[in-house]
Amino acid sequence: MANSSFEEKLGSNKFVVTTEVGPPKSVDISEMVHHIELLKDKVDAINITDHQSSVMRFPSLGGALLVKELGGEPVLQMTCRDRNRLALQADLLMAYSRGITNVLCLTGDSVDVGDHKEAKPVFDLDSVQLLKMIRTLESGTDMGGNELKAAPRFCIGATVHPEADFVEPQLVKFDKKVAAGAQFFQTQGIFDLASLRRFMQYASQFNVKILAGIIVLSSAGMARYMNNNVPGIIVSQTIIDELAAVEKGKGLQKGIEIAARMIKTIKEEKLCHGVHIMAVGNERVVPGILEAAELVNA
């Protein structure tokens, strides 16, 4: 039986749409509340990022709780960067007890890319081990082998990087994540549909759902910045050129157009099972993208 409405959608043959909201570096959460309210009925689930790019913010667990309270469907992003296995397990117990049952398991960015470079990097577990740990909790014991009086049940996912410049080792890791229990994947940003097609030829042998990551770019400068500074991201030259060709101030509009076009193609050609839209700070434009892609959720 499906454990969450998101899991149910994954199990149906519907095109699944998720997006993400980044918590603020603040105790004022009004903007996050606004973004969640704006998006909750238009997508199948909202990811809440976990100190994205290793920048300290309001926690993902708090954000996911908020999504739940506001009547949305959260995907709790959980990285291994900041918590050891005790803290990760504890947070999972808390999450389940409050109805947060979708978890995206990540290793987490390096501390060196963030805004607390002197912090101790934890990485007691990695993403594959985190997936396994969740399955262990579900079986009724913790990682120490001790019994849980009541066990949780989660719908768990992970990420994969089809556009990595050396993709083979990423595919090996993808296999391990599937074997460890991942049910869905939200890919890193896709900028070239050919690489998604190639990846799906490989991935379709597994019984997992693939949501293509769509990053909304707002200018050629942002794309170049991401290429140089954001771990793993490789925006293709074609897209950079397309963004560079528009007049100043029209970049975001172009970015929206590109995202919508890609989503439309992915859906029409059934390239994969859905999309995960990452608007990185421009959450307010996501409804427009959905509309332009003719994807307004019923």
Partner: protein, 227 residues
């Protein structure tokens, strides 16, 4: 070997301020090889300290120098009591272990660290040293084609590369190779990619309850029928 860097000169000058007679004590093993605290560096530091003192016009210290074959081994400390007898402080250019070995041998004598002990590594080229082992107590180099993921991957992860690697480099440092790309390529060359596909469980940090102690077992492996 152990690799260290000499502390900044001003920090050394600040540390010795309260003491009059200073013995600068070098180490003839690792600290010599990594140019941080061998006989040569002891003599350079000695001269620099004397010169700085002369320039400042305030003659507060007298200096002596000596270099042991190895500071971390009691066997080599024999001649030291004589050298230490008439000084007020030992400025050790041994690694952190050397400093502590001297402190343990001379309970009444203050000992100062003259180097920042950095890591266990190897000489990459003349004047360049690279970290290679974090002494995790459970060596997994068999599974990783002789490349240590704990030391060379900035996250020390065990099941393959994170998604942050670009152009074979690490997300944390564009000048540093991604350990997991190196491991993948070498396993492929050795036709051992099955080791890449295996699941590796979380590390057992009980292998490193600090501080660790090793007690020798048998001096030789006696083979079958042993114990």
């Amino acid at each position: 070997m152990i690799v260290a860097e000499q502390k900044p000169f001003e920090e050394i000058r600040r540390m010795i301020t309260p003491y009059e007679r200073v013995l600068i004590l070098g180490c003839g093993t690792c600290m010599t090889v990594c140019d941080a605290g061998g006989e040569r560096e002891v003599s350079f530091l000695h001269n620099a300290l004397r010169l700085a003192q002369a320039r400042s016009g305030d003659v507060a210290h007298t200096f002596s120098e000596y270099t042991l074959k190895r500071q971390c081994d009691p066997e080599f400390l024999e001649l030291l009591p004589e050298k230490v007898a008439d000084v007020d402080v030992v400025l050790s250019l041994g690694c952190g272990i050397g400093v502590q070995a001297i402190a343990e041998s001379f309970p009444e004598m203050p000992v100062l660290p003259g180097v920042n002990t950095s890591f266990m590594g190897m000489t990459k080229e003349s004047g360049v040293w690279d970290e290679r082992c974090a002494a995790c107590g459970d060596c997994r180099l068999e599974d990783t084609a002789g490349i240590c993921p704990i030391t060379r991957c900035t996250k020390g992860i065990l099941n393959g590369p994170c998604a942050g690697t670009k152009k074979g480099k690490c997300e944390a440092n564009k000048d540093m190779d991604c350990a997991w790309i190196l491991i993948y390529q070498r396993l492929e060359r050795l036709q051992q990619l099955d080791k890449m596909r295996r699941y590796y469980p979380p590390r057992n940090f009980r292998t490193i309850p600090r501080p660790r102690r090793i007690v020798t077992k048998a001096a030789v492996v006696t083979g079958e029928g042993d114990g």
